[in-house]
């Protein structure tokens, strides 16, 4: 098993290239200048590596090698605001999702009670509803409640997706945890105590993966953000970036922006990825 064979190395290389190619294509664009991107036929590699786009999108001018100045993006304010809001929204959604979902999935996975299947189906139904069809009702409701253009409004919408979705994924995982409830009962622990101090430490990986999924979803949510918070002080990063397309068609800065949005989730993934490999949802083989 452990012996490295050429087939494996080739397959792994193909996989890495497949995973990175679209991202690298944007890295290439982000380093190009305006004329180079418009050039036809397109070059595979940029002729010069200039960081102007990355500096421009944060609102600073950049002096190019030939002395000319690449002007700061007019969208810089929106992008910084979006970055800040995205961090707040994603952190809040992640935290609230974990607090709600862990007990919920535990209860579904380990306890038997009446109406369990009905309730479970209600949760799963929430996953099936396409966001496009709830957009107008939510918008109308939010206008009445005064939640349009606010961060709590967006957080609530994100939760309606993350909670059912993550619950669905966690149930199988919880089912595989060692059955310690009876032992805990004999030792006199209450159910809540069992959940908080015995199950939860065992289920660290599940909690970590829930965090990744919820964070990624909230960080990348676009449809609702576009309708509910775009153009308001509560705009998030994806909504703010979409402004580039219509208002300032500058592919290099657009690419730079997209690349920046990948960094925070990539960091989260890097630190939590070993937990992802622990998320077994099927019965272990005996």
């Amino acid at each position: 098993m452990t012996k490295r064979r050429p087939n494996f190395v080739i397959a792994m290389t193909v996989l890495i290239i497949w995973s990175l190619l679209p991202i690298l294509w944007f890295v290439r664009m982000a380093f190009m200048n305006h004329a180079e991107i418009a050039n036809f036929p397109p070059h595979i590699f940029p002729s010069s590596f200039n960081l102007s786009s990355f500096v421009n999108i944060f609102g600073y001018d950049y002096k190019l090698a030939d002395g000319s100045i690449s002007a700061a993006s007019g969208q810089a304010g929106q992008i910084e605001l979006g970055l800040q809001n995205s961090i707040i929204v994603s952190a809040a959604v992640t935290l609230i999702t974990i607090i709600i979902v862990v007990p919920l999935a535990y209860v579904f996975a380990r306890l038997d009670f009446r109406f369990k299947n009905v309730l479970l189906n209600a949760v799963l139904l929430a996953v099936a509803i396409p966001p496009v069809s709830t957009l107008i009702p939510f918008y109308t409701l939010y206008v009445q409640l005064g939640l349009v253009g606010t961060l709590p409004g967006l957080i609530i919408i994100d939760l309606t997706t993350t909670v059912p979705f993550v619950t669905w994924m966690l149930i199988g995982y919880f089912r595989n945890l060692p059955p310690i409830e009876r032992l805990a009962r004999i030792d006199g622990f209450s159910r809540l105590h069992t959940l908080l101090f015995l199950i939860l430490p065992l289920a660290r990986s599940g909690v970590a993966v829930s965090a990744i999924i919820a964070f990624l979803f909230a960080w990348n949510e676009f449809t609702f953000a576009l309708v509910l918070v775009n153009g308001t002080p509560a705009t998030t990063l994806p909504a703010a970036i979409s402004g580039f397309l219509g208002q300032d068609p500058n592919p290099a800065q657009l690419a730079a922006c997209i690349l920046i949005t990948i960094i925070p989730p990539a960091l989260v993934a890097f630190f939590l990825q070993r937990h992802l490999a622990e998320m077994n949802i099927a019965d272990p083989v005996r």
Binding site: R4, F8, P42, P103, P130, R175, I258, P265, A277, N280
Partner: protein, 304 residues
């Protein structure tokens, strides 16, 4: 007195049954969820039974099942259904195959395993919005990688994949690119639970690698594969961001899936009643497809 009081309190505290504890934890969340989800559904249902007009003053009129009938008689709706099915099937198959490949490859011990895993995970970190832009630039003849490679080799061809014939495939590749890591990591976690001695036994029995894969590796994965086939199906059918950014339903209506058509009908044509009626057909398709997946496949996996 001070020593007796806590004991008394303890004796009086009744143990909750499983059901009571479950309801205590689950019910508030689920009720809230139902309210949050039921409200938009009820509102959509109301819209679906009404004709809603904006021009010449906002007014609504009850029209019964007329909107539903219009949807069923609309050739555009059936075309979009066909596009949706084509996209979903391609996207789900690609996602599952890629996910399986990711799981199997990452399961081999290598140096810098964490780095490889993070790199393979990266596509999932890209928003569907970003992925849409990336694949649009990659696939379009004017800016794409194939053109660049051919030009590098001195050829003049401009292979363009944003055409009516191939756009659905571009979308399917884009969506499976973002979804596959999710599947891959859950497959990997499942693979790790397969004891090594089973592979030793397979080696003693002199099974070929393919036989080993089929008889040792695959059976324990079936449940995970079923769950993620369902998840990929649901996500593909309700996918909107990627299509909105990558192709906007085009060229023409070649890639207009039901979700995109819904957006067009409700937000561009402002035909809200008709859009709401259509959204119920989409929901019906999603539920119908997952249910049939369960009946055909999932029911046989014992764990559900």
């Amino acid at each position: 007195m001070a020593t007796i009081a806590p004991q008394k309190a303890k004796a009086r505290r009744r143990e909750l049954t499983d059901g009571q504890f479950a309801l205590m934890i689950g019910l508030p969340v689920i009720l809230l969820l139902i309210v949050i989800v039921a409200y938009p559904l009820a509102y959509s249902a109301w819209m679906a039974f009404h004709r809603i007009l904006f021009f010449g003053g906002y007014r609504t009129k009850f029209v019964g099942f007329k909107n539903f009938a219009t949807v069923l008689n609309d050739p555009e709706f059936w075309w979009c259904t066909w596009v949706t099915i084509r996209f979903t099937v391609e996207s789900v198959i690609l996602t599952m195959l890629l996910g399986l490949a990711i799981g199997l490859l990452l399961n081999r011990p290598t140096r810098f395993g964490g780095v490889w895993r993070t790199l393979v995970f990266l596509p999932w970190c890209v928003s569907l919005y970003g992925a849409g832009l990336m694949f649009a630039y990659l696939a379009r003849g004017q800016t794409g990688l194939p053109t660049a490679i051919l030009a590098h080799l001195g050829m003049q061809n401009v292979p363009d994949f944003m055409t009516t014939r191939t756009i659905v495939e571009v979308l399917a590749i884009g969506s499976s690119w973002t979804m596959a890591p999710l599947v891959g990591f859950f497959v990997l976690a499942n693979l790790k639970t397969i004891p090594k001695r089973l592979y030793d036994l397979a080696a003693i029995d002199q099974l070929t690698p393919l036989e080993t894969f089929w008889n040792v590796t695959l059976p324990p994965l079936r449940f995970t594969l079923f769950v993620f086939t369902s998840i990929a199906t649901v996500l593909s059918m309700k996918l909107f961001d990627l299509i909105f950014v990558l192709s906007a339903g085009g060229p023409g209506d070649a890639s207009s899936t039901l979700t995109y058509q819904l957006y067009k009908v409700s937000f561009i044509n402002l035909n809200l009643g008709y859009g709401a009626a259509m959204s119920f057909f989409l929901l019906l398709f999603i539920i119908g497809l997952t249910m049939s997946l369960y009946l055909i496949w999932g029911r046989r996996e014992k764990q559900i």
